[in-house]
Amino acid sequence: MEILRIENLRFAYEPGQWILDNINLRFRKGEFVLLIGPSGCGKTTLLYCINGLIPHRLKRGIRKGKVLLNINGKWHDAASLPMNVISQHVQTVFQDPEIQFFKLHVIDELAFTLENLGYSREEIARRIEFATKACGIEHLLNKDVFSLSGGEKQRVAIASALAVQPDILLLDEPTSNLDPVGAKMVLETIERIAKHGSLVILVEHRLEETSKHADRVIVMHEGRILVDAPPKKVYGDPELLQKLYEIGIRPPWPAELISRLRKKRILPENAPVPLTVEDASNIIKEYLKQGQLTPIKIPAPDIPSIFSSADNNRRPVIEIKNLWYMYPDGTVALRGINLKIYEGEFVGIIGNNGSGKSTLLLNILGLLRPSYGKVYVFGKDVTKISVAELARHVGLVLQNPDLMLFQPTVWKELAFGPRNLGLPKEEIERRVKMALKMMKIEKFAQRDPHRLSRGQRHRVAVGAVLSMIPKIFIADEPTTGQDYGSCKDYLELLAKLNKEGRTIIVVSHTLDIIARYCSRVVVLHRGRIVLDGPPREVFARADILERIQLDIPYITRISLLLRDLGIPVALRIEELESYLEKSLVQR
């Protein structure tokens, strides 16, 4: 049964700049739809049109066309229905669950909407039981919402929406702020909800975890629908794949690997499209078994020389000596860290939420004072110099760019730092232009940064740090809320800065990024360093990483499953492709 129709929908925030352009879509009950597209393509705006925020709350802008909801067998235009009616049939879960919380305790939060809709006590209790079971949060009912982990908060937000038992559930990047463990928790919950019969429309960048569950993938670009098809068709058709690459969307790694092997004729053109790591390795092994491929063992690449010999003449830019940090509530976040980071390194710091990554960064920047131990940056104790002085040499881009933006225009935002350094006007202008160009945000120079999309705001925040030309650049979760194309551009930029001699430190949950760009990976778990070495070796320690519930990059996972074919551990798809090309010879 059709539940939602979008007919000729167009929307512009400013006259002449259509964010949505001639959208025509139809949705059925019980579908699980994955909505993807590059940053700024209109995904969130489309969700706002479906849930009635446009035009009922966001009154500015020009809206044309119709969003029709099927309520009790009759079609209604969302623009003419009051919000309290829409919210009984359409519920939304946003990226940041905290902005949706009204109450202090989980059970009160779940009951809030139902109380406002006038349900009886018995009905409220029944619906809460349904929602908590579906989301697996029975054990959290009496807890304070703000004491929960990121994954738990997001599940509470989903349960709160689900308690209304909506016909349509919209989720706008619900896992972007979560670590892999939290994301997995949330996505499993969403899959269960779709099976219950609601239409689920999920906006996500994590395609590997979501594509395998989706019935349909809708790709948007510049406000238009580019593709609307089942996942295997979208990722399996070479022409559609090419369109995805052109707009900066990377298909799930398993699908991309097989697609590349098909293009190189290592696998036949009709080889099936896998959506999981196991499927990809099984397809390769199947062709091997059928006798179409013959394996040849190839040697593993050498370990980088910096890890082969201790060079005592190298200058550490960051030196940490037996660092312990305890928060005022007694939480011990760092437990005896000894670490040296050298000039010119590209270091990735990984670990689950609560492992101490952010606390470590804050100690390096002098924003937190060690409870015990010392931190030195360029040989100076960070507790003896001011944060302002440190900021001349160390730049930090936060996970949430909104915490860094406060100027009325992008230009002023980028000029703020150099101006505070007391630089001459010409130098400020040169640096701002350089940063605008590097981040590809020249066209936004005179715009209010708060009116840009999240991914664009992130680029402004990075530009603001780049204009300071720091010697050490620290990026906290640089891929949050970014599409693949933007992530790649950003990391390529960091790699370029690294080649110029700058030290780069990246904290990320996106292990593929870490594997591709970093020369060193530091794994944190419960405040301690568990592993610290070249990425290839670190990610090969799958047993240790599994013990601390940390995943490994998808490509590395596939290569480990193909180990018995003599394939070495691979970090990048190009490596694995090359190994398979060399080692699998067509008969």
């Binding site: 037996n322 005896g336 040296k340 507790t383 001011s386 060193r520 592993l531 320690r541």
Partner: protein, 209 residues
């Protein structure tokens, strides 16, 4: 900035304390001690032996005489205090920074009062000296205990928070070092060797011994 706010609050507390102690003292006796602030061309009398009252305490806080209670002077004194802490507050990292901040803000205030040609003379009642000794002794003890407490950090973890700390994590492990099993270079005290996967905790504990 938080330490700066504490400094501002501490200034008020200190001066109220001095005022209260002066009130407790026998204010009717003559005051034999007098300190002249050098190199200041003008001076004011803060305490001239009159009975201590709220008015005198306020004057003491403002380091001024009656002229200080005029609105424009009061406003400028407040501005000078606020400006001083805005200048210093962000840099205050330790107690000595706060002490310097308090001295600095009074220097700014005295400078202002000198410019408006107010006489400054600092008097200290005789009976306040034991109070000052007690104050400095207790402050010194507090700072010493704070310094000593640093070395009991692990005691706090073990006895109060029930967190067992292995000896290898109580001391600095000089990096880089090589894995005792495979000689791979380690640039941090990671729990496992990146190359051979050996658990290095035993190595750290032995090194700590």
């Amino acid at each position: 900035m938080r330490l700066g706010v504490y400094g501002l609050a501490l200034t008020f507390v200190l001066l109220v304390l001095i005022g209260v102690l002066a009130w407790v003292a026998d204010e009717q006796r003559a005051l034999p001690y007098e300190i002249r602030v050098p190199h200041i061309p003008n001076d004011i009398t803060i305490y001239d032996g009159s009975p201590i009252s709220v008015r005198h305490i306020v004057l003491l806080l403002l380091v001024g005489c009656k002229e200080a209670l005029k609105f424009q002077n009061y406003l400028v004194i407040l501005i000078s205090w606020t400006v001083s802490w805005f200048l210093l507050g962000g840099m205050a990292r330790k107690i000595r920074d706060i002490i310097f901040g308090i001295i600095f803000q009074y220097a700014v205030m005295i400078l202002y009062l000198s410019i408006v040609h107010v006489r400054i003379t600092l008097y200290i009642p005789e009976s306040i000296i034991p109070a000052f000794c007690a104050f400095f002794a207790s402050t010194g003890m507090f700072l010493l205990l704070k310094k000593l407490r640093k070395y009991d950090f692990f005691e706090v973890l073990e006895k109060k928070l029930n967190i067992r700390v292995e000896p290898g994590y109580k001391y600095e492990i000089p990096v880089p070092f090589t894995c005792p099993n495979c000689n791979a270079v380690q640039y941090s005290n990671a729990q496992y060797c990146w190359k051979c996967g050996t658990d290095l905790t035993k190595f750290y504990n032995e090194r700590a011994r």
